[in-house]
Amino acid sequence: MRVLEVEDVYSGYGETEILHGISVYVAPGEIATIIGPNGSGKSTLMKTIFGLLLPTQGKVALDNEDITGLRPDRIVRKGMCYVPQSDNVFPSLTVLENLEMGAFIRDDDYSGSITDVFARFPVLEERKSQRAGSLSGGEQQMLAMGKALMLNPKVLLLDEPSAGLAPRMVEEILQKIVEIKHSGVAILMVEQNAKEGLRLSDRGYVLAMGKKRFEDEGLALLNNPDVGRLYLGD
């Protein structure tokens, strides 16, 4: 059962086409990671899925519903959330206020979700009245994810969650992502830290020059000598 299905998508900026027919999917409770060199189109793909870019061809479906080209705030209502790579929290709002904003479109009592997020990321509860801008890189990343989780999304798009973090933090963040996956969320993730990313992924995609080069289970890609030589620096 594929909760997110991306079919044969072509997309880019203005005259420049970056993606030349990409197809990926994610099922509930699994992590699919996209790796590839810089400029391969990973970020473009995420933005196209989330409606920040309009594809010229192809289809994006969420729970079998066509959401191609819908605006981000519509897509959020359908149950897919996006965590950008950087500038992903509101710096002048407190941790708690950031979470409240995550729940903006909800009409119901979301205090339960806040408790859940704090349970998942205890450090956020400690700092709940602190300005988000004063948090460390890792804490901000956790807050960004917590914010996205306030809507109990079916699909979570993570754009380079470990970017710019210290190695120990990277470990912690990736661990949290696995925990989130276990709660049933489908996660599509772009990771620069290719090896780490693939290690905990159920499946992976290797993108290069806007096309899909490899697609397989996470560990299989990790052990694939071609992938290793070309993309993992082995």
Partner: protein, 349 residues
């Protein structure tokens, strides 16, 4: 026939003022159209040029004046050159602190400059004679030409009335000629500039300042040159105005309006286009002057007429921005397309 001559004489007057506006627009075109400098202080340069020329060429202060400076009765050309010089220096001084600023910050800073200039003109009566103004300003060769005209008319006493009216306005034809010649010269200069290497740097700065500076160009210095050159043209326009109107005071150069209408002219005509600058000047001036005829038919209090006219210009600006922001003529087409095209960021939301 007489009404025809009446209209013709009005048209001469209209065209002289139009030329003055055209020169102001050409100056703004250098600063904004070519270089992207947003300047709300135009009326300041215009006023400073007018006052400089008036003080250099005008009569000495009378016993009734508050003013104690100026009145050297120098020739017209000296007045114009002085006007350009002082405006240029003023632009230079203003540019030093402000040209480093981002475009919208520059705009905000120039409100302040416009205000300060207005205050100085109004308050420093020892220099400007404040609201009482400078009067009896001379016009070049007026004595000689009027003299010849009078003599000519006197020797032909049996001319029909209309011919008399036509010829006695002859001086203004001469002044119009001066105006048109200056417009033509500055137009050609603008055209040369934009095609020169210097002009290309200005264009590059307007498009993307960071790229230009990375390419090794001293962006600040180029902006300064553009500011000063544009200001000198505006000062020249001021001098031309002073000797045409023959009277100036602190109220003649209401900064915001004097600046605003020039902006509308340039945008409507096509900024970045020297033909557009001239076209816009005459078109908007025609609209403005035209409303005079129109409201003449409807009885209305003076201030209401004034308000409606400014309102109209404001609405024209908004319509142009909405419907055709590049103006009537759009930006000037250049031989090198390199600086023209920028790929728009696709279908980005």
């Amino acid at each position: 026939m007489e009404t025809f001559v009446g209209y013709l004489n009005y048209f001469i007057f209209f065209a002289i003022q139009g030329s003055i506006f055209a020169i102001l627009c050409l100056g703004l075109n250098i600063q904004w159209g070519y270089t992207g400098l947003f300047n709300i202080g135009i009326a300041g340069f215009y006023a400073v040029g007018a006052y400089t020329s008036a003080l250099l060429c005008g009569p000495p202060p009378s016993s009734l004046d508050w003013r104690i400076v100026g009145g050297y009765e120098l020739p017209f050309v000296v007045g114009l050159v002085g006007a350009m010089g002082v405006s240029g220096v003023l632009a230079f001084l203003i540019g030093i602190p402000t040209l480093k600023l981002k475009e919208d910050y520059l705009a905000i800073a120039t409100i302040g400059i416009a205000e300060v200039i207005r205050l100085v003109l109004k308050n420093e009566a020892w220099l400007t004679n404040s609201v009482w103004g400078l009067k009896n300003l001379p016009s070049p060769l007026q004595g000689e030409i009027d003299g010849k005209i009078s003599a000519f008319l006197a020797s032909h006493p049996n001319f029909p009335h209309w011919l008399n009216d036509l010829i006695s306005n002859g001086y203004n034809w001469f002044y119009l000629l001066i105006g048109l010649v200056l417009v033509a010269v500055l137009y050609l200069a603008s055209e040369r500039i934009i095609r020169s290497p210097w002009g290309r740097v200005l264009r590059a700065i307007r498009e993307d300042e960071e790229v230009a500076s990375v390419a090794g160009k001293d962006v600040f210095w180029f902006k300064m040159q553009s500011l000063v050159l544009g200001a000198m043209m505006m000062g020249l326009a001021g001098g031309l105005y002073a000797h045409f109107a023959k009277f100036i005071d602190a109220m003649s150069f209401e900064p915001m309006f004097g600046t605003f209408i020039i902006w509308v002219m340039l945008i409507a005509g096509g900024s970045g286009n020297s033909k557009g600058a001239i076209l816009g000047a005459f078109v908007i001036w025609a609209v403005w002057a035209g409303t005079d005829f129109f409201t003449g038919h409807i009885q209305m209090a003076g201030y209401r007429e004034g308000a409606l006219r400014v309102l109209l210009i404001g609405v024209i600006l908004e319509v142009v921005l909405l419907v055709r922001p590049q103006g009537i003529l759009g930006e000037e087409k250049m031989v090198s397309k390199m600086y023209e095209e920028r790929s728009a960021p696709g279908k980005k939301r």
